[in-house]
Symmetry: C3
């Protein structure tokens, strides 16, 4: 159950730097590579000659060459040539709309003609020199929606990440959830508390005292198909919190691109964009390392949760106030999925 | 095909010492932990909030706290509390009767109200200072009944354990099998033979000559659901064998608690209780190490046997005289299983 | 879809040197061993007593003794004896026709009475002192027919083995394919080209200059059930190529015995027989090592191709002129498979 007519993060540029990449996204086997003039391209990972995986081939003159018998595949899924063969009658394979933007390769696994790059949300932190970004990738064996639930209810930090970003005050501050069209926002504010270890590190990173009370905030924004951007930060208490001037706070965006692989697995692109000391590369590394460790703590929990849900498919789960962010996000997804299925049904009846 | 209304060994105390333990037993996913005043407790390994595995949580004030969002689960399967929530309407999860006795944690995976700790057989060796015990745990991918068969027919020692406890004389001495209610007893006596290596080691451990003829015995006792206690030993020949005075023999009980996990896998708690030199801890270690190595020799055989039986489900196996112990044990199990199913059917029709 | 009434390479002598070998061939679980006077023997890997794998046992007096309870199995699948038992009524297990020849153990997984060792093709290179042989074994998770396709279309060398035996001229020289009864022959000749690295090494191995133009040939011979012998070599150009005298060429036979395990996996016995410097053992090792590395390059491609074909079972693959060798080989196989099924159907209706 995933939207196919939507933009997903497929990979990062380094993953296709030296050779093509085979990756399954929303159930589609796709070969990603750099074609003409370094433009990103994506076709089905299936050579029409004998079914070999095209991702084991190489790029020549902007085309993907099958590494088995040398068929030259064009970016549009039509065979360009093959040694000693006339290829006009060769069957086509799917090609996918793909765009490089904001430091990621984005793919539209559904109908190519509907893919409009303007639908990719603007990400200020990825372009402005005031921001720095670091992140990584995990492969997780659970439904991508369990990860959305995870990120739209940060009370789990108190338990899963108790030694880094968790603290009792998260549980005590009820979040508010609002829906704005397709966007779901869950916000929590904790005033006049002591910062937990990860945020003390971040305060020091911005040359701020880490042993004084702070105001802390978490503003989770879900947008379809499965992106969760979380504004997080702490400011020295009493200076306006979220609205405090930059030199009195450590402020970041937790970046989560959640890309379904199958119904029960996904690719999790996680990272953190920060609006302080953007040129401090050592700080970027420190934060990436810390975040990677923290986000790794969720894996066991999510995979065993998935296993439990498969074992007891009939059990209804609770939808508490803290779950509201996830519940509303799934509601948006369900509405869009219904629209997409209706569209497909209409096309079928026309055809 | 396993009895659910019965006591099984679930784990040893060290396995729940520092944190909860998730273990599947007779098809039930169970979280084991120490609750109030260190009492053992067991509930379904499924948080009613979002299906997370409770075994990844921690114990606080005698209750199991879910490690995902902090739901506090009581030992009775009822939610005690959750930060910021009213929990009265939360669905219950199963809780299990569980008892700590004889150095093991015992669980009753069936109907809790039928669980009577008095049904656990008395184990003298586990309480008397005249005895010492050492053992271990193996996870084996075969039907638990193949392990019962294995232990009720010790002719396999000659072949699987030829370098330690096996000897040709085992094959030559036909065992006698008797059934006493739910208990099945297979006994073999070999008089005036030379002891094999493991038993020579045991004789030396009891300060006895190891190069003189001995009388050797093996008395296997199966009791439901799947426990096999085997009295084994050697005595200097001509002193009464099994009935010889303690200072003329090396005498032990091979302890086998066989706990089904699924239809084709089980937890095998093996050990040896000995009635000589009980305070010699080094001897306990030596025996445990030797036994662990010997019992590890069965694993490959049992798992490949299981694989063969799944490949050829239609083939009937032979039931020879040497198989009588296993055959009778399965007959007891089949009768009790029929009783249990009848009980369940009756309850269903009443309800 | 494999022929059962046919000879396959089962293993090499070293694999049964010290103990029996359990191996699945054409879906049959078989235990191979050396029986009476060192003669090879093969029976079902299933003890009629309790279903234990006989391959975990040992050989005594030419019979296979079950390693579980000592049943003594004869080479004909009839139980010979068992300690303390009368075995006359024991059910038989299958035994298989098996022959040692040319340095391999051959098995006929179908009806034993049809197995005629004279049906094994004569292999001159395996007997003549003018030849040397070296090879190895890979287990590959794909339909054995994908390997036949691979070997009957060597244009893949240009892509999969570009750094060793591949060269652009292979693509440019169209092969000719002919069918001679059950044999399929695909031949390619490339005259007056420069030898690729592997063949330069071979030329040096035969004390020939490696920096002069050569004539190169590849003559692939498929014979049922799944053997592909490929005559390959290079001769200093203009001396008759394939027919050049031995001292002006480096000439070999690539040996491929492809033995199905299941529908989607096989055992691949690969090797190279050469007709130069047969006594140079170091050269044999060098070639074996080089070939092992080269043939290992196919594994990923073949296994991912299999995975793709299973994902898209409805897609027809192309049958180009270069595929002709594989297409014709499969046609021979399909005809023989139809014959075999008709034979089985006839036998069933008679019985």
């Amino acid at each position: 159950m995933f939207l196919k007519n939507s933009w997903y993060v497929a990979c990062t540029p380094d993953e296709i730097e030296s050779k093509p990449l085979g990756r399954k996204i929303c159930g589609e086997n796709i070969a990603f590579y750099r074609g003409n003039e370094g433009q990103v391209a994506a076709v089905e990972n299936f050579c029409p000659h004998r079914g070999a995986p095209l991702s084991l081939g190489y790029v020549e003159d902007g085309n993907l060459v099958c590494g088995y018998h040398g068929l030259v595949m064009g970016c549009d899924g039509k065979t360009v040539s093959m040694p000693g063969q006339r290829v006009r009658g060769f069957p086509c394979i799917k090609s996918y709309a793909v765009v490089e933007r904001y430091g990621f390769i984005w793919v539209w696994p559904g109908e190519k003609e509907l893919a409009d790059p303007a639908l990719i949300h603007h990400l200020e932190w990825a372009e402005s020199p005031d921001w720095a970004y670091g992140g990584g990738l995990y492969h997780i064996k659970c439904d991508y929606r369990l990860m959305i639930d995870n990120l739209m209810d940060l009370t789990h930090e108190t338990y899963v990440h108790s030694s880094s970003i968790g603290q009792k005050e998260i549980d005590e501050a009820l979040p508010t959830t609002s829906v704005n069209g397709d966007e779901v926002i869950t916000a929590r504010h904790m005033d006049n508390i002591m910062a937990p270890p990860f945020w003390r590190m971040a305060l020091r990173g911005n040359d701020l005292a880490d042993d004084v009370p702070v105001d802390r905030w978490q503003i989770c924004r879900f947008t379809p198909p499965s992106h969760v951007m979380i504004e997080v930060g702490v400011a020295h208490a009493g200076n306006g919190g979220y609205d405090a001037p930059d030199h009195l706070k450590a402020s970041s965006i937790v970046v989560d691109f959640i890309t379904p692989e199958t119904e029960t697995s996904h690719w999790y692109f996680w990272g953190m964009a920060r609006k302080f000391k953007p040129d401090d590369l050592a700080l970027t590394d420190t934060i990436r390392e810390g975040q990677g460790k923290i986000f790794g703590e969720d894996l066991d929990m999510l995979e065993q949760q998935q296993s439990n849900l498969l074992t007891y498919p009939e059990r209804g789960l609770l939808k508490l106030n803290i779950d509201s962010g996830g519940v509303q996000s799934r509601r948006v997804l369900d509405r869009l999925l219904a629209d997409e299925h209706q569209l497909i049904a209409k096309e079928s009846s026309v055809a």
